[in-house]
């Protein structure tokens, strides 16, 4: 289980529950069958470095460094993301953090030449994301009243 701002690298199943405007980002090495997952809360760190997993701009370089350390090559890495919902319309007018999170993740992935293979973002509903590096990097998404489906 990966809480807000936390990340994990390994081969075991990982999960981030109840993502609202947060993003669950997974990066999977299809040759080495290792994966990494992070629970991002905000788009920009604005120079803060105490919790790199909390921000899109620091979380992605962090995962990339950890995966490289584990012997992964960039060319075999595939990213997927889910979350970034706008749960409260009234407060969402000026401040759609979910959407900004998703945009920033896309931008930082592109800047790091990482491929985004799938995404399920936006909407109004919360999501729980599960990641199975041991099953070819399978990523499933579940909402409060729905069954889990693969993305």
């Amino acid at each position: 289980m990966i809480g807000i701002g936390e990340f994990h690298v390994g081969t075991e199943p990982m999960m981030a529950i109840g993502l609202g405007s947060c993003i669950g980002l997974t990066i999977y090495d299809k040759d080495r069958h290792i994966g990494a997952m992070v629970h991002i809360m905000l788009p920009d760190s604005s120079g803060r470095s105490d919790r790199p997993g909390k921000y899109a701009d620091t979380a992605i370089p962090l995962l990339l460094a950890k995966l490289t350390e584990a012997g992964c090559h960039k060319a075999s890495l595939v990213a997927k993301m889910a979350g970034g919902a706008c749960m409260f319309e009234y407060f969402g007018n000026n401040l759609n953090i979910g959407e900004r999170n998703a945009q920033q993740v896309r931008a930082i992935l592109a800047a790091n030449h990482l491929r985004l293979a799938a995404e399920e973002v936006g909407g109004k509903a919360g999501r729980t994301v599960s990641f199975f590096p041991g099953e070819s990097g399978k990523v499933t998404v579940r909402s409060a009243d729905g069954a889990a489906h693969e993305i």
Partner: protein, 204 residues
């Protein structure tokens, strides 16, 4: 922000008074007794938020705290989905406890949330002369963690720890279990504590 035990006591007293008003109102709406818990003040690291609010489905009626402090945090009427059905069934004169929630229920929940938040904030204004006005309400019925996480992400101040100030309201007869939760910005919390301390100093 760390609170001393005296400050905790003062906040609990404030919660007692605020929630007592809300409980009375809820009790009138349901025409049966409503019990309230001792208010809880919990400081939670954001990475551990899921231990307090997990995947369970719940209704959140959320108001931003406005007034003297323009973006003062949030006040939330929180009720599990099950309890929400019991509550609206009682209000609407329905009986099926397993039916899905519809638009009518949503309106009813927003209405109850409105009344609860106003009762709570009226009491704090009366006691402390600190005006906190609720914004128009926003409702979601979804995973508890997803809702609370979204509010934490949009707080003015960048935080790693969240202070949850909650009081439980229970109506046993109708199996309704709800919470009033305040998620204050640190400016709001500081003001509340200052005013409470002044009140105690000048007390009877």
């Amino acid at each position: 922000m760390k609170l001393s035990s005296v400050q905790m006591d003062a906040m609990q007293e404030l919660g007692n008074i605020g929630a007592a008003h809300a409980a009375t109102t809820l009790s009138q709406m349901l025409s049966s007794p409503v019990e309230m818990s001792v208010p809880r003040i919990t400081v939670v690291d954001i990475s551990q938020l899921a231990d307090h609010m997990g995947e369970e489905s719940a209704a959140f009626v959320v108001f931003e705290l406005q007034g003297e402090i323009p973006h003062g945090g949030y006040i939330i009427f929180y009720i599990s989905k099950k309890s929400a059905v019991h509550l609206t069934n009682t209000m609407l004169g329905l009986t099926d406890p397993d039916r899905p929630l519809n638009e009518m229920d949503e309106s009813a929940l927003i209405e109850v949330g409105n009344i609860m938040a106003s009762a709570f904030l009226d009491a704090t204004a009366e006691l402390l002369g600190f005006i906190m006005l609720p914004s128009p309400p926003a409702l979601t019925i979804d995973m508890a963690h997803a809702a609370i996480q979204t509010l934490v992400a949009q707080m003015q101040e960048e935080i790693n720890e969240v202070l949850l100030f909650s009081t439980e309201l229970v109506c046993e007869e109708h199996k309704v279990d709800s919470d009033i939760i305040m998620l204050p910005e640190s400016t709001t919390l500081t003001t509340l504590i200052e005013r409470l301390e002044n009140l105690m100093k000048s007390g009877p």
